[in-house]
């Protein structure tokens, strides 16, 4: 279905994103567009694509993208945050995505630390944040790339065991415009909390929203690879894992998988 930018514009009235959404039929990567705009001095923007031909994930992982089936969006923001706290954009975006999917599709996705979106154990969404900091260690800007599988009826055999869509899991499709508006509204709320809230509750809320934070058997790719049981988040938001060798380690980057 053709993307209705007017509907999105109307839905974003009163938010920092109002009037800043742009739609493209096909693009290499929406994150690249957003980064180029940021380098040219823009500080807020939303780029939505029907299809990404070179979608980026961590470590160069490509993202399976079919025209119109998924929500592929990059969001440029510039909250006033020191870099240590700007890391939490990763976690806050995962929460915003989960909340928006709950409200629009009535479905609870799980969050695999730091921010993969899982539906019944399979990945239905991914988030990648790209930032630049100024020399005073304050965030200059952040580009938040989000891909969510909405309306795919099925997946190619080679990824069907690990990937899914909301339609496959719930039996119902999700309108991209509705989810995008809800996602941006939830994200704005999270950004406000991140900048302003005293006694910030993000880590607590992430711990409650995700089954992966505590007591989950996992395999971690870092440090040569090891297995263990997740043991909560540290004060900076990094995942702690009690290794099977009795040593507790801190996961820095992600790449956590369920141990079978």
């Amino acid at each position: 279905m053709a993307f209705d930018l007017n509907e999105v514009d109307a839905g974003l009235a009163g938010t920092i994103f109002a009037g800043h959404a742009r739609h493209l039929a096909s693009v290499g990567s929406t994150n690249t567009l957003a980064l180029e705009a940021a380098q040219a001095g823009e500080r807020v923007g939303v780029w939505i694509a029907d299809e990404q031909t070179a979608g980026r994930g961590r470590g160069g992982h490509g993202w399976h993208s079919v025209a119109g089936d998924g929500l592929y969006v990059s969001i440029l923001v510039a909250p006033a945050l020191p870099i240590a706290k700007a890391l939490w954009l990763s976690l806050a975006t995962g929460l915003a995505a989960k909340q928006s999917i709950r409200e629009v599709a009535g479905f609870e996705v799980d969050i695999r630390w730091p921010n993969d979106l899982l539906a019944n154990g399979k990945k239905c969404g991914g988030i990648l944040v790209e930032t630049t900091v100024a020399p005073d260690a304050m965030l200059r800007y952040a580009v938040i790339g989000i891909g969510i599988n909405l309306n795919h009826a099925s997946f190619p055999d080679e990824i069907a065991q690990i990937a899914t869509s909301l339609r496959v899991e719930t039996g119902r499709g999700v309108e991209r415009e509705t989810l995008l508006v809800m996602l941006l509204r939830e994200l704005e709320k999270e950004l406000n909390l991140l900048e302003n809230e005293q006694g910030y509750t993000l880590l607590e809320r992430v711990s409650q929203a995700s089954t992966w934070i505590k007591g989950k058997r996992v395999r971690v790719g870092e440090e040569g690879g090891y297995s263990g049981t997740t043991a909560g988040l540290d004060a900076r938001g990094f995942l702690l894992v009690d290794g099977d060798d009795g040593m507790q380690r801190t996961v820095l980057s992600g790449g956590v998988r369920e141990a079978r």
Binding site: T131, V133, S253
Partner: protein
């Protein structure tokens, strides 16, 4: 420098190469060793056998003791050792994370040793929590050293590059 000592140095160099360590400094009472590998180290191996390194380190002073009588330390120092400590600007990591020299695996590095960089030019990425943070140079000058290898964890405040400001 006697034969045993040279053999030990060779072993040390092999060890450092095998573990893809870009730079190594060791200073003892009568001996100073600085080893820096030119060129592009491959992504680092998963882990380093520290016990092996400490074995090499431990054997060095014993062998060095007799050598100290015979050879002047200065002449024993390899050519690679910098005779004068130059004051270089260090670009440090603002966060804990994983160091990446290039924007994507297989892509050319942002900068290489010997490159001239400008203020604000991207030197590398430090990633944490799936947030890719570009680190910019805060001085203009020549990249003299890259202090860590791509894929390696870095600590808050850890130097990443040494730059000779101009």
């Amino acid at each position: 420098m006697d034969g045993t000592k040279m053999q030990e140095l060779r072993e040390l160099v092999e060890f450092l190469k095998a573990n893809e360590i870009a730079e190594f400094d060791m200073e003892q009472a009568d001996l100073k060793v600085r080893i820096k590998f030119a060129g592009e180290p491959a992504p680092a191996a998963a882990g380093i056998d520290l016990s092996q390194l400490s074995r090499l380190m431990a054997s060095a002073p014993a062998a060095a003791a007799p050598a100290a009588v015979a050879a002047a330390p200065a002449s024993a120092a390899p050519a690679a050792a910098a005779p004068v400590e130059e004051k270089l600007h260090e670009v440090k990591s603002p966060i804990v994370g994983t160091f990446y020299e290039s924007p994507a695996p297989g892509a050319p590095p942002f900068v290489q040793v010997g490159d001239q960089v400008e203020v604000g030019q991207v030197l590398c990425i430090v990633e944490a929590m799936k947030l890719m943070n570009e680190i910019e140079s805060d001085v203009a000058g020549e990249v003299v050293r890259r202090i860590t290898n791509s894929g390696q964890p870095v600590e808050y405040g850890q130097p990443l590059f040494a730059i000779r400001a101009r």
